[in-house]
């Protein structure tokens, strides 16, 4: 296969990004994992989704309306459900200050766009397996 295949049907990945194009590319990159992917447009919707559903992994953008990625991560880390949840920050941002903020908030992994699809798939596979 052109993108490596792995079966992770029990995994539920939440993708939070206000850009439909970005969400499509993340979904495309992860299609080989055969897991359920849920998309939301903002941090608040992501927060509600995590509280209502079992989420295996959160992939979030930094700058989103209603609640940005850093605030979302901080809130999640303060909950029982979210304290151990793997969280990937997928962002255009390229500065140490934002990385420091993300690290302090409790992000697991920081990926700067543009990402390669195999790269994202492999990172997610490693996180989930």
């Amino acid at each position: 296969m052109l993108l490596a295949e792995t079966d992770l049907p029990q995994s539920r990945i939440l993708v939070a990004d206000d850009s439909l194009v970005a969400r499509r590319m993340v979904r495309f990159a992860l299609q080989g994992l055969h897991c359920k992917i849920v998309e939301v447009e903002d941090g608040l919707a992501a927060w509600e989704q995590v509280r209502s559903d079992d989420v295996s992994l959160l992939i979030t953008d930094l700058y989103m309306p209603k609640m940005d990625g850093i605030e979302l991560i901080r809130k999640l880390r303060s909950t029982d459900d979210g304290i151990d949840m793997p969280i990937i920050l997928l962002t255009n941002a390229t500065c140490e200050e934002q990385e420091r903020e993300a690290r302090q908030a409790g992000v697991s992994l920081f990926i700067r766009k543009p990402f390669q699809p195999e790269q994202l798939a492999e990172l997610v596979r490693q996180v989930l397996c």
């Binding site: 052109l2 495309f28 500065c95 200050e97 992994l109 920081f110 766009k113 699809p117 195999e118 990172l123």
Partner: protein
């Protein structure tokens, strides 16, 4: 920083607020139009990419299947089995050939032995005739001598009886010899056919089959190399798709940059409005100059975004074309792997089938001939066996001849008292008896030679032809089974290749069509150029000094402008346009050792 040095009254703005709003809102509207345009186009590219990925994946899977059928272990095993089959066939044909050579030699010996019987047979014919004459002569002579002590008629009768017996038996012998000769010559012809022309054809077919299989082994080496080509093409397809995915993300990257510009322009308008209301801490003319210079900066940011966006779209177009080429190349590689061309539509396997069929045909032909020759040999053996009793008969003639000769001698003694004619007869009989004995020996030896050869024929023998036939049937069955597998594999590969041809042609066409439909970069370029031109025009109407910037550094709108930057590219452009004095120095992300495994853009915590 150049511009028209037209500083006005401190309280007055060069341009009215409306003019500022109008000037700064135009790029804003353009940028909004751009967002909608680019999002739709990039979503379209994303949708198409998903379809292309799915379809190219199917073609790649078909190529992998072709590879598996042709170069996988099953194929190797299949070739090995076929090679073993050919060797079994070769061994069987060798056995037929060897026994045929031995049979031919023995049959030639039989023919030679048969030829050696001609002389004694002819001699016995003469003896028979002479005996008959002597018998008649003896009767005549004895009729002149009436002697109650001798029975002259016994001798003549004995002579006539022996002559008749010999004559009858000789005829039988002659007939059997002739029959055996015919059978032997027929059998010899069969064996010659087997071990000359048919054997040569069999050898040719076997050698051809061996050559074909050697080529198969060579083809497999080539196939393995072609497998590398296929793997490279598959990697190339992945690369093209990955490049498109990577480039599509520049939509978001530039979108954010453009949004920052939009927000900044909006905040400039707000600041101008506040300044005019008297809420600002800087005089309006300075503010105007700085805002104008800020517009220049935003124009530069837009130009950078334009370059990034348009370059990304060009990369997408280029990668789509490369993807189309790679998809077509994959099919070519698969065809090369199969040794197939579009004209004949067959694969390497197709060369194997005629070779096996030829050998199987030769096998059948040889078996048929071997069966005929075995039949002929059996008949020779049977005819030879029939001759065994003749040897005894002939030896009995010799014994009888001896008795007659003795009788004749006794008669001649009796008769000699009265005359010498019977004495001559007795001598003749003695001579005949002697010759008969000699010829009897010759016949006996000849016939024994023949029966010995016939026994060795029986020893050589091909055994039960039914068993031989069963061997051939088994070989044929194995051959048919392998041919069936071969045809199946050939058909499977040809079908796969035909489908790959159709699918790849269609896919490549769709990819190229999509690539040719992508003009978003042209449209984006126009819009961004237009927006940047407006901002450059604004900047061109004012001039700014570093003092102006120092005065405004504390103003939130300018601080926010810098804080809004999320990318090093934005900060670099800021520094380039406005100088080092204004931008907050924000460190670029430090590279850590841990991310090297996943890429320079990944940070693990």
């Amino acid at each position: 920083m150049e511009g028209l040095p037209l500083k006005t009254d401190q309280a007055a703005m060069q341009w009215s607020l409306d003019e500022w709003n109008d000037r700064l809102s135009r790029p804003g509207r353009d940028l909004l139009e751009l967002q909608a345009l680019t999002e739709n186009n990039f979503l379209f590219i994303g949708d198409q990419l998903r379809d292309f990925h799915l379809r190219s994946g199917k073609i790649a899977a078909a190529a992998a299947e072709v590879q598996r059928v042709l170069a996988g272990e099953a194929a190797v095993e299949g070739v090995r089995h076929m090679q073993a089959l050919i060797e079994r066939m070769s061994s069987f044909l060798d056995d037929i050939h060897q026994s045929s050579l031995k049979n031919a030699s023995t049959l030639r010996s039989i023919c030679t032995a048969l030829a050696s019987l001609d002389t004694p047979l002819q001699a016995f014919q003469r003896i028979t005739r002479t005996l008959q004459i002597i018998g008649i002569t003896t009767r005549i002579e004895r009729s002149e001598y009436s002697d109650e002590r001798s029975d002259g008629t016994v001798l003549s009768e004995g002579l006539r009886h022996l002559a008749s017996m010999i004559s009858g038996n000789m005829q039988e012998i002659i007939d059997q010899v002739a029959s055996l000769r015919t059978l032997s010559e027929t059998a010899l012809r069969n064996e010659s056919a087997l071990n000359t022309s048919q054997s040569a054809r069999a050898r040719g077919a076997i050698n051809n089959a061996r050559t074909v299989f050697s080529e198969q082994v060579g083809n497999r080496q080539q196939a393995l190399q072609r497998s590398d080509d296929l793997a490279h093409t598959s990697v190339e397809i992945s690369r093209c798709i990955a490049e498109v995915v990577s480039s599509v993300q520049f939509h978001d990257i530039t979108h954010q940059q453009i949004e920052h510009v939009n927000h900044t322009l909006g905040s400039f308008c707000d600041e101008m409005a506040r300044g005019q209301r008297g809420g600002g801490s800087v005089d309006l003319s300075t503010l105007e100059c700085v805002v104008a210079e800020g517009c220049r900066l935003q124009a530069e940011q837009l130009e950078h975004s334009r370059s990034e966006l348009c370059d990304a779209v060009r990369r997408i177009i280029g990668s789509l074309h490369d993807l189309a080429d790679a998809v077509l190349a994959m099919v070519e590689d698969a065809r090369a792997l199969a040794g197939s061309t579009r004209t004949d539509g067959s694969t390497f396997f197709a060369a194997v089938e005629p070779a096996i069929i030829a050998v199987a045909a030769i096998l059948k032909e040889n078996l048929a001939t071997a069966a005929r020759s075995a039949q002929a040999v059996h008949e020779v053996i049977a005819a030879s066996v029939n001759m065994v009793h003749l040897v005894d008969e002939i030896e009995r003639f010799g014994a009888e001849m001896k008795v007659l000769a003795l009788n004749a001698s006794i008669e001649s003694v009796h008769v000699r008292d009265g005359g010498s004619a019977l004495g001559v007869i007795a001598d003749s009989i003695q001579e005949l008896a002697h010759e008969a004995l000699l010829q009897t020996d010759a016949l006996s030896h000849g016939l024994k030679d023949i029966t010995t050869c016939a026994e060795s024929l029986a020893d050589i023998g091909r055994g039960d032809m039914a068993l031989e036939g069963e061997k051939v049937n088994n070989l044929q069955a194995d051959s048919d089974f392998m041919l069936q597998n071969l045809r199946g594999a050939n058909r499977e590969v040809c079908t796969l290749l035909e489908k790959m041809d159709a699918d790849s042609g269609s896919l490549a066409g769709d990819i190229v069509e999509t690539a040719e439909m992508v003009h978003v970069h042209d449209e984006a370029e126009k819009i961004l150029n237009r927006a940047a031109a407006v901002l450059f025009d604004v900047a061109g109407n004012f001039s700014t000094s570093s003092d102006d910037w120092n005065q405004v550094r504390h103003i939130p709108v300018f601080q926010q402008m810098q804080r809004r930057y999320s990318m090093q590219s934005e900060r670099k452009i800021h520094r380039r346009v406005l100088g080092d004095v204004s931008v907050e120095d924000v460190a670029a992300p430090a590279k850590s050792k841990a991310d090297s495994a996943f890429g320079a853009n990944v940070e693990l915590f």
